[in-house]
């Protein structure tokens, strides 16, 4: 990846002086912009799975958040 150090520094810098909610929204905007640059929806979905798998070992692999009930 070219300019890796520049990108890393810019990402950190972009979050400077933002509170947690603002930070989260910035990341969300950036992710949607990047997803659009990737273009291929299947590829984006694969990358989301990849990011999730690379995280904490205890997370579940599938399923949407939300509460089920038997109503």
């Amino acid at each position: 990846m070219n300019r890796a150090d520049d990108i890393f520094a810019a990402l950190v810098e972009a979050h400077r002086e933002l509170d947690e909610a603002e930070s989260r929204r910035l990341d969300a905007r950036l992710i949607l912009l990047l997803a659009n640059e990737v273009g291929d929806g299947d590829r984006v979905l694969a990358l989301i799975r990849e990011a999730r798998a690379d995280g904490a070992g205890s997370v579940q692999s599938t399923g949407t958040p939300g509460k089920g009930d038997g109503g």
């Binding site: 990341d27 969300a28 949607l32 958040p65 939300g66 509460k67 109503g71």
Partner: protein, 528 residues
Amino acid sequence: MQEATGPSRVHPVYPFRKPADLDGRERHYPVCVVGAGPVGLAAAIDLRLRGADVLLVDEDDTVSAGSRLICLAKRTLEILARLGVGPELAAKGVVWNRGKVFHGEELVYAFDLLPEEGHRWPAFINIQQYYVEEYLVDRARSLGVDLRWKTRLVGTEDLGDGVRVRVSTPAGGYSFTCDWLLACDGVRSTVRDGMDLRFRGRSFPDRFLIADVRMKAAFPAERRFWFDPPFHAGRSALLHKQPDDIWRIDLQLGPDADPDEEARPERVLPRIRAMIGPDTPFDLEWVSVYTFRCRRLERFRHGRTFFLGDAAHQVSPFGARGGNGGIQDADNLAWKLAETIAGRAGAALLDSYEAERIPAADENILNSSRSTDFMTPVVGAAEAFRDAALSLSRRHAFARSFVNSGRLSTPALLAGSPLSTPDCADFEGPMRQGAAAADAPFGDGWWLDRLDGGFALLHFTGRDGQPPAGPGEAALHCAKPDGLLASRYDGRPGTTWLFRPDQHVAARWRSFDPALVGAAVDRARGRS
């Protein structure tokens, strides 16, 4: 400034009449439909049009109180037109194809759900549910459906080869038996409760207010949706135009709202006032506060009892998938039951009701769950992505596709249906195997008007213009391989499409072969 509550329209009352059954002798009926809402009425009419005798019982004696269903999607309009109430709906309903989504005061984007010409019906017609029910009751009566009002279902008993039904009426109770029972009695189905069957799925914590408001307003006939509007900060709002100067307003109230308190006029009126501005007089016609649920029964058939509409599945209203999904249930089951009663079907035909309609219900549940998740995000990542999609969509067209204010009802694609004959040739264009037939101008009318209840063939003729020989029992319609119909059906010379009685594609070929057509009809009847 007028602000009052109460309906402006007197709904029809359908009088209870003492049936002969009260003499204590137990009678037998071929088909009993429970619930005279849009789904039960559509099923009863469809069955009656196909020659079945139908008994329809309802615990009430009038039509729906509020607008409820309101948005009739194109596919529903096509079905209801086949059932014979198209002219009434067209004359009364408010046609709309366009929608707008706002964030704050800004227009985020506008959409057109029917951007092409050459269809009899628009993307949507808005009309109060009570009008739909009134037209359907009149139609059912004229066809000889045995309608019994003030007749409440008390319980059912599975007899193996039939169902015993117990009902109560103002003149006492009675019981009867039937071959087939159709539970169309809504989200609080007494048939379902009596059989101890439970919904499975999700409940959403947010509460929503629905109001019918009568006012003279200049908003256009389009769907308007707001995220975080200035008149209802931090929440969402939806506005729909209806006939008779009635407007439907949906307001998100949040998870902490008290439903009884929020339904009181002194709470509702200021909310409406903030939305429509200080100068427009209005009357409040109907109010309901509810939570969203996306749930369904595990099975839609239990022996000789079938569940249709909200009795089988429940979705949140954004997307208009509840009523429109229910009407498609009726459309799917009626012909299969009629073919079975007439002795023309294999056992697999009735089984296919679940094979086709459970995936359709799941698609509706998936779409309406996602819309609700977008509108009512939990604090954290979901909220951040929602806000990101909204803020980006002002300057970036791509981000608009993430903005979910309801994915509006589209006809179910019966992909992989056991009744479909797999393609043995390639087809171009939008029509898929198992899709509901696309409309187009045909002769001096519309193509879908020709698909009026039986199996039908569409054959694109060759240079000689000759119809093929030996089409069998399916009604044969010939068309030239040019024009709008041909482009929508990839109609080259010889191309032949077979449609089921519910207008869905059963099979298609590049040439006409009577033996293949006969085999495909057999398959679509569950006989192979």
